[in-house]
């Protein structure tokens, strides 16, 4: 190994433990009636098969905010897809990047959810999403554990 692993700085890994079944977490990621309560009021549309389309649509208007493609859908344990942000030309220009959701059941009804975002060559997108991931995952946990969205 000649250099340090510089390329790895462009992966973001976020993880949360949720007191819910893998199936409930899968639904919360892939169904619009859940995403509008933790994902900035947006509703998602997934065609859950390889090559299927993904869209995230604003709750206020019908604007498509994020689009992408489903690469692998293995419910309720693994979803691989891409994301491309459409609401900011600088982010759109960086193109689509891969997002992997891993759902692993654990002890005592607690399930581990890991989101891996590959962001090589997309510095603006990386900066844009880093705070968002913590917000999304903590919101998803709160929603599934309490049945209520995060306040504020």
């Amino acid at each position: 190994m000649t250099t340090m692993t510089e390329t790895n700085v462009t992966v973001q890994v976020h993880q949360v433990f949720i007191r819910a079944t893998p199936e409930a977490i899968w639904d919360a990621i892939t169904k619009p009636e859940f995403t509008r309560d933790y994902l900035y009021g947006t509703r998602v549309e997934y065609d859950l098969r390889p090559g299927g389309a993904f869209r995230s649509i604003s709750g206020d208007s019908d604007e498509v905010l994020v689009d992408g493609e489903v690469i692998e859908a293995d419910p309720p344990s693994k979803l691989v897809q891409t994301w491309r942000f459409l609401y900011d030309p600088e982010l759109t220009a960086e193109g689509a990047r891969r997002v992997t959701w891993e759902i692993e059941p654990g002890d005592g009804g607690v399930t581990k959810l890991t989101a891996i975002h590959e962001l090589d060559g997309a510095p603006k997108t990386a900066e844009h999403v880093s705070g968002g991931w913590t917000y999304i995952l903590s919101g998803l946990k709160t929603l599934l554990e309490t049945g209520k969205p995060l306040a504020g």
Binding site: V13, H14, Q15, T134
Partner: protein, 107 residues
């Protein structure tokens, strides 16, 4: 879930572990060897601290080929924020806002 919170607070209550989190914040996805090179500490000592951070969920490790990379996971800090900081800070802010409103009504 009290245990999870205890682990996060305990993990954060140490300057070396906070230093490690700050190093990962600056550049994520590092090996033990890289992290060790920034500390005046034995490899075993750094491993112990990383283990505490991992148990608290503040660091997540992933394999990349033969290497084990350490990633900062800020979600537990966000949960602490939502539970312990937002609540109290928000009350203070809204109290100030209503004070301002009252004073302006009088003025």
């Amino acid at each position: 879930m009290a245990n999870d919170e205890d682990r996060v607070f305990r993990a954060l209550a140490d300057p070396t572990r906070r230093f490690l989190l700050d190093r990962l914040f600056t550049r994520d996805g590092r090996t033990l060897t890289e992290l060790e090179s920034e500390l005046e500490m034995t490899r075993f000592g750094v491993m112990k601290h990383l283990r505490v951070l991992e148990d608290a969920g503040l660091v997540v490790t992933r394999r990349s080929g033969r290497e084990k990379l350490h990633y900062l996971n800020p979600v537990p800090i966000r949960l602490i924020h939502d539970r312990w900081i937002d609540k109290y800070a928000e009350r203070r802010v809204s109290a100030l806002a209503s004070l301002k409103q009252k004073l302006e009504e009088i003025g």
